[in-house]
């Protein structure tokens, strides 16, 4: 792998950057691999990388319908955090955050990981109670969460000038999560792709999988693509949104429903907000990118959808809520908006497991799955390589639905 550094940049500058090597190869598609990973999004690429790096499994092909890194990793709000409620979830996300923090070095690719803290701006007592309940359980796993006063919230987020004592929902305080950060989403995909490629993994773009194939023994034996059949005894499906579309080709039903989550960015302005701001009572969150854009996420549209689209009324609700707390943003302009597919499970927690079809693995149900990319990739690779779940992912297997043992991370109460 070509080394990236200020020195190498200087060296390449001399000849006008004409000799940089491709970040990954474009090998011919072979007929057979040990493992096929479907989907070159964040989770697919990370899984392939850790298969090679941690478990020495390098005969791996990642098959991507479109372009590498074009899944939800290309269309999210880059928030990385670990403030969850339950013992089942917290250590998983703590691990993911830790992996993210070391990833620029490990992959020799600057992900611009900015551990800049998230502040929850709390406007109702039930929400404050719900968030504070997480604090001491998070502490068991080394994740930090502290209450701060309204004055401190305003001091740290000077643009927060709404939500005064006379407001519909006055700000009553905040919670600070110092482990949270943001980074560059495209870089995460590219860095994993480059790292996986360097360890022998093959990346095949423009290679849609149209069908999964099962052998006479019922186990998976490969996949069908317009470029031909690719055989593999182990196939991992990492195609957020389209999971059921694929698994149904082998008659496998999964408890997943596909829906649309949207986000938008403002025009770039000079540094204004230094932390990730989350306003759970109002239903939006944002951070300011290094380029100066406010990257804003809001409520999902609950309807089933495979269309990446923005619902005007859902969008307006988010904007209205934002303007109530940040009235100066009225003069800020919308620059871009977009949507992405997520599939959601009955308990809104993810699924990582080998399915009833032997050799067929899924990673799905990610809802805010960007923060989970490193840990999701690592633990799925563990399962594929060792045939048993990594302890961190054990709570998220399909098994839990057999007895309806939900891992409910959605809050205990909602204010509106």
């Amino acid at each position: 792998m070509q080394n990236y550094s200020i020195v190498s940049l200087l060296r390449h500058a001399i000849n006008g950057h004409a000799t940089w090597a491709p970040a990954w190869r474009s090998p011919p598609l072979r007929e057979s691999y040990d493992v096929v990973v479907i989907g070159a999004g964040g989770h697919g690429l990370a899984t392939a990388y850790y298969l090679a790096k941690e478990f020495g499994i390098t005969d791996v092909a990642v098959l991507e319908r479109g372009w590498l890194g074009g899944g939800n990793v290309a269309r999210n709000t880059v928030t990385v955090r670990s403030n969850y409620m339950r013992d089942a979830s917290i250590p998983f996300y703590v691990k993911s955050v830790a992996l993210y923090e070391g990833l620029s070095d490990e992959l020799n690719f600057n992900l611009m990981h900015s551990k800049r803290t998230m502040i929850d701006v709390v406007q109702t007592f039930p929400k404050m109670r719900e968030l504070r309940r997480r604090q001491l359980t998070m502490d068991i796993y080394g994740s930090t969460y502290e209450r701060i006063s309204t004055e401190e919230v305003r001091r740290r987020i000077p643009a927060l000038t709404g939500g005064g004592p006379g407001a519909r929902l006055p700000v009553i305080g905040g919670m600070v999560h110092t482990d949270a950060g943001v980074n560059r989403h495209d870089a995460v995909a590219w860095a994993y792709a480059r790292g996986a490629d360097a360890r022998g993994v093959e990346l095949h773009q423009q290679t849609p999988v149209t069908k999964l194939l099962r052998g006479g023994d019922g186990a998976v034996k490969g996949v069908e693509t317009p470029r031909g059949i690719v055989r593999a005894r182990k196939v991992a499906v990492a195609v957020s949104g389209h999971t059921t579309t694929l698994t149904e080709t082998v008659g496998l039903r999964l408890p997943l429903r596909t829906m649309n989550l949207t986000a938008f960015v403002s025009e770039p302005v000079k540094p204004l907000v230094d932390v990730v701001v989350n306003c759970p009572d109002s239903g939006f969150y944002f951070s300011q990118s290094d380029k100066g854009e406010m990257v804003i996420g809001g409520a999902p549209d609950m309807g089933q959808s495979f269309r990446r689209d923005v619902k005007q009324h859902v969008f307006e609700d988010t904007v209205t809520a934002m303007l109530s707390l940040f009235p100066s943003f009225k003069k800020l302009k919308l620059l871009r908006q977009w949507g992405g597919h997520v599939d959601i499970t009955p308990d809104a927690s993810p699924i990582m497991d080998e399915t009833d079809v032997p050799g067929l693995f899924v990673t799905a149900g990610w809802w805010g799955g960007y923060k989970a990319i490193p840990a999701g990739g690592l633990t799925l690779a563990h399962l594929i390589a060792k045939g048993e779940p990594h302890p961190l992912m054990a709570p998220f297997t399909l098994n839990r639905f057999r007895h309806l043992d939900y891992v409910m991370e959605s809050g205990t109460t909602t204010a509106r």
Binding site: T137, G163, V310, P327, L334, Q337
Partner: protein, 978 residues
């Protein structure tokens, strides 16, 4: 300062001069100017610095496609990152260039040009890693970001100057764009009597006709425009907006129109949400530049922009021009400039041979066929163009102060593409044009690749005639040119050296795209993201097609195969204020109040959100009490004498019909149908997957009439649940649900002396325990008011819930306070209610119920009817309990030290060690009956661990506590039954 204003002509009002300031210096323009045209008229050429390299930049375009000159408006017009070409000049306006300091002329950031070789596309992915990104990030953030952030008003400041508004509109036909095609379409549809909505982003109608010298029906085209606008104005069925940008095309023909200068002066902007039957997209075409070295110097301008400046604004953008083109349209621009007194030195045309149709337009200007511009002389302003044959032969420099270029025209397909229509690459036009529509829309004129005036009028008329089913009108004759192009995606003549820009705003060059491709970022989306090309405020309106062409050339594939990146809303940036409109949280989500709210506020109640937008009193602070003293006082009142609280926000539903009892048996876990009229029962509702949905009380009012109360927060969910079941699963059952939450208000008098208060109030209902025992109700009068009295208890004390019509509530409340005074009555807030219910171990959905526990875990197995064969959630609870998962069960906790308060949510861990938790404290209160802290907790196998000592893990401490029954007061419930 040299004035470049022409003596006559243009769409400006010379009788209305306007003074403005730019980067601190004073200038003058006229009404009708944009900031850009006024700056050009004042001969201000260096107007901006670029984002990454801080290269000097000037004005490139004449409309929203402008990539270079972004300004920040100050004062009352305050607005960041506006393209100078779209800022309508106003008197007193003050603007400054973004992203340079102290000024574009002396920009200290320009030092970054020295390192330009070091910072190609994506350089930041390769460096700034050691010792950590955190060291570099602050400086990078400060350097980026373009304009300053908007100033934040202080909390609760009154709204600033003016307001925003968002409104709905409906149209049979929405016409986007009031150029020739759009006007024609609007006329035809309007004459057919359809509701027409015509929106155009420019300040006046006419589109490209404003910028050119064309004729329609033998007269200047703008006369036709004026007549058409007048006719549209006369039609009551037509809404015509200028300075109104259609910025989003959403599903089901729902489009957003941002009206930027509404007639009402107090209104800043308005957003129209238009639902259209059909949409006619007459959005025109956008000229793209040519890609040659230093094509970003101030004075390098799009040919059509220069044409617009001389014709529309009567400004000469330079004195001596060179025109560089690969198509015919720049010839007309050159001719117009020549006619306005600009010396056009040469037309450099990359085509060989140059078509005669083009040469005919040149009007004596020397045409250099088969030639290209290989470089630009002058850094801060164009001084000359280096020209050679395409093979590099015959290089020479032509002196000029204006270098115009035209790479051809790209239909503005943004909205069509947003509507999810597909695009195809048209070889003869060398651009992407609309292919298959996905919604009820049709593209006409330039937007569909029909680039002549005649075809614009024709396609506009045709579309409207087809939609309305009317005859095609006779079309006027027009002047106009043919259009032919031979694409030139980049100048690669041997002498062409230097940075050739594809995206001027984000400083993306041909070399950057080549680097991206070399490194494997081959997809057009990769190139966009790696180079950031097309991601600026202009969203690549002029540059994207050239990026696609550059990729295609380099990869040796057709443009169709490269494809476009996704066109995302908005078409042009739109302020969040306009999107939000006048909507404020307080307007959209008003608090729900009961008739007692004002009384509460008058007594200093601390009010807060209680769910479902109800605001309830938390506690009634008195004198210099602490919070805890207040809560204790209210609790003691209830336990020792009497208290009263307002329970009006509880959800209430009346169910009528012969199957109502049967239905309640299905939705509640316990048996309801066996109740007699006059009886009520506390019940639990589950979802079908066995989770607790709500708890509440069902009262049987009559044989077929029931009243169901729910918790405040879950009333809507329960309503939806009942209606869904009734309408989808049991459509043949006779049950009608009516929401009566606001028809019944109630005050609950509770405490050992409650009966005294009721007697003092006076009632015709026999309240003796024999006549009205616990869980019974009776209708009658209280204090002379028609009332229903219910014997339920959420505090564990003797309670009378007095239900009255809302109009009587305030009277009832005050009379209760009066009648209760001798008994020491206190109003009770929700904090005290919480303490009282914890002492009794009563369930609180927000505390003990969290998506995993069931009624058995809560010690409420008695509520899960064994007599009923089926009810919602029964099967799932049974199934879940057969699983191996260890259950967390509700227990009471007594901290070893009675003065130890345990924070709510604190985990219980084995031995208090740093290990996975075995439980969770759900509530901890100071018990007034035990005079100590008591807690409720969910503990693994808790029911069988009574007497055990467990440990609560805090951050730096543990709290030992003894496990016991989750009830601390009157375990047999004698008091509430008394």
């Amino acid at each position: 300062m040299r004035d470049r204003r022409l003596a006559s002509g243009g769409r400006i009002d010379r009788s209305r001069p306007l003074a403005f300031r730019f980067n601190g210096k004073g200038y003058r323009g006229f009404s009708g100017d944009t900031l850009a045209s006024a700056l050009l008229a004042s001969n201000v050429r260096l107007t901006a610095r670029s984002f990454k390299y801080h290269r000097p930049r000037g004005i490139v375009g004449s409309g929203p496609e402008e990539p270079a000159t972004l300004v920040e408006l100050e004062g009352c017009h305050a607005s960041a990152n506006r393209a100078a070409t779209t800022v309508r000049l106003e008197d007193g306006m003050a603007a400054r260039s973004v992203n340079c300091w102290p000024s574009p002329g002396l920009d200290l950031g320009a030092v970054s040009q020295l390192f330009a070789g070091l910072i190609p596309a994506g350089f930041y992915y390769k460096t700034f890693k050691w010792p950590g990104w955190r060291l570099y990030e602050p400086a990078i953030r400060r350097a980026a970001g373009l304009a300053g952030a908007p100033d934040a008003p202080p909390p609760d400041a009154p709204p600033p100057d003016g307001h925003f508004e968002a409104v709905h509109a409906h149209a049979d036909v929405l016409v986007v764009g009031a150029g020739p095609a759009g006007l024609m379409a609007a006329l035809v549809a309007g004459r057919a009597g359809r509701r027409v909505f015509l929106a155009d982003e420019r300040t006046e109608a006419g589109g490209s006709l404003l910028d050119r010298r064309m004729e329609i029906a033998g007269r200047p085209a703008l006369e036709w425009v004026a007549e058409s606008v007048a006719e549209l104005t006369s039609m009551p069925n037509v809404t015509h907006l200028q300075d109104a940008c259609v910025w989003a095309y959403r599903e089901h023909n729902f489009l957003m129109v941002n009206e930027r200068s509404p007639a009402n002066p107090s209104m800043l902007e308005r957003n129209w949400r238009v639902r259209a039957g059909k949409v006619i997209l007459a959005t025109g075409a956008i000229e793209r530049g040519l890609v040659f070295p230093d094509n970003d110097r101030p004075g390098v301008m799009l040919a059509s922009a220069a044409q617009a400046y001389v014709n529309r604004f009567a400004v000469k953008p330079g004195e001596r021009a060179v025109v560089f083109a690969n198509n015919d349209s720049a010839y007309a621009a050159a001719a117009d400039l020549l006619a306005s007194g600009v010396d056009v030195a040469a037309i450099v045309d990359s085509r060989d041979p140059v078509p005669d149709s083009a040469r005919d337009l040149a009007g004596g200007i020397p045409v250099k066929g088969g030639s290209v511009v290989i470089g630009v002389r002058g850094r801060r302003s164009v001084k000359g163009a280096a020209v050679s044959k395409r093979d590099g032969q015959g290089a020479s420099t032509i002196d000029c102060d204006l270098l115009l270029h035209s790479g051809g025209w790209s239909p503005a397909v943004h909205l069509f593409s947003q509507s999810r229509g597909s695009l195809r690459y048209d070889e003869s036009l060398a651009t992407f044009v609309p292919d298959e529509a996905a919604q009820a829309c049709v593209s006409v004129g330039g937007a569909s690749g029909e680039l002549s005036l005649a075809s614009a009028l024709r396609t506009g008329a045709e579309a409207a005639a087809m939609i309305t089913g009317t005859e095609m009108p006779d079309l006027p004759t027009t002047t106009g040119e043919s259009y032919a192009i031979t694409p030139l995606w980049r100048v690669d003549a041997p002498g062409a050296k230097g940075r050739a820009f594809l995206d001027i705003q984000n400083d993306v060059t041909v070399d950057d795209v080549h680097l991206a491709l070399r490194e494997g970022y081959e997809n057009v989306e990769h190139v966009k993201r790696y180079t950031t090309g097309g991601m600026g405020l202009d969203q690549g309106k002029t540059g994207n097609i050239n990026i696609i062409g550059t990729i295609a050339l380099q990869k040796g594939v057709p443009l169709q195969d490269v494809g476009t990146t996704t066109f995302r809303p908005p078409y042009s940036p739109v302020s969040f204020g306009a999107i939000g409109g006048i909507r404020e949280e307080s307007v959209v989500l008003p608090y729900r109040h009961t008739p007692v709210t004002q009384w509460n506020l008058d007594r200093g109640a601390f009010m807060y959100e209680a769910g479902a937008r109800w605001r309830r009193p938390g506690y009634f602070l008195r004198g210099d009490e602490t919070f805890q003293e207040t809560v204790n006082r209210e609790c003691r009142a209830v336990r020792e004498c009497v208290g009263v609280y307002d329970g009006s926000p509880l959800g209430k539903f009346e169910l009528k019909g012969r199957d109502a009892g049967r239905f309640l048996d299905h939705v509640y876990t316990n048996l309801m149908s066996t109740l007699k009229p006059g009886q009520c029962r506390y019940g639990l509702m589950l979802t079908e997957d066995g989770l607790i949905l709500d708890d509440g009380v069902a009262m049987r009012l009559g044989e077929h009439r029931w009243l169901v109360s729910t918790s405040t927060a879950h009333a809507d969910a329960v309503h939806g649940h009942m209606e869904e079941l009734l309408q989808t699963q049991f459509p043949d059952w006779s049950v009608h649900v009516t929401t009566v939450t606001s028809q019944w208000n109630n005050a609950t008098v509770c405490g050992p002396r409650a009966r005294e208060v009721m007697a003092a109030l006076g009632t015709d209902i026999d309240l003796s325990p024999e006549e009205l025992p616990f869980m019974r109700f009776a209708d009658g009068h209280v204090a002379g008011l028609p009332a229903r009295v219910v014997r339920v208890s959420f505090t564990g004390e003797l309670s009378f819930e007095i239900n009255v019509a809302p109009r009587h509530m305030r009277d009832l409340w005050e009379w209760i306070m009066e009648a209760g005074a001798p008994s020491g009555i206190e109003p009770v807030g929700s904090e005290a209610s919480h303490v009282l219910r914890v002492e009794k171990g009563f369930l609180s959905l927000g505390h003990e119920v969290d998506g995993t526990v069931d009624a058995h875990d809560l010690g409420m197995s008695w509520i899960m009817s064994k007599r009923k064969a089926d009810y919602v959630g029964k099967r799932s609870v049974e199934l879940r309990r057969r699983g191996k998962a260890v259950r967390r069960e509700l227990v009471g906790l007594l901290p070893a030290d009675p003065n130890d308060q345990i924070p709510e949510g604190a985990p219980l861990t084995p031995g208090g060690e740093k290990r996975p938790s075995e439980g969770l404290v759900t509530a901890c209160v100071w018990s007034v009956v035990l005079d100590r802290w008591v807690a409720l907790a969910l503990l693994e196998n808790g029911k069988s661990r009574h007497g055990e000592t467990v440990h609560v893990r805090l951050k730096n401490a543990t709290v030992a506590a003894t496990v016991g029954e989750p009830v601390f007061h009157d375990p047999d419930g004698l008091r509430m039954r008394s």
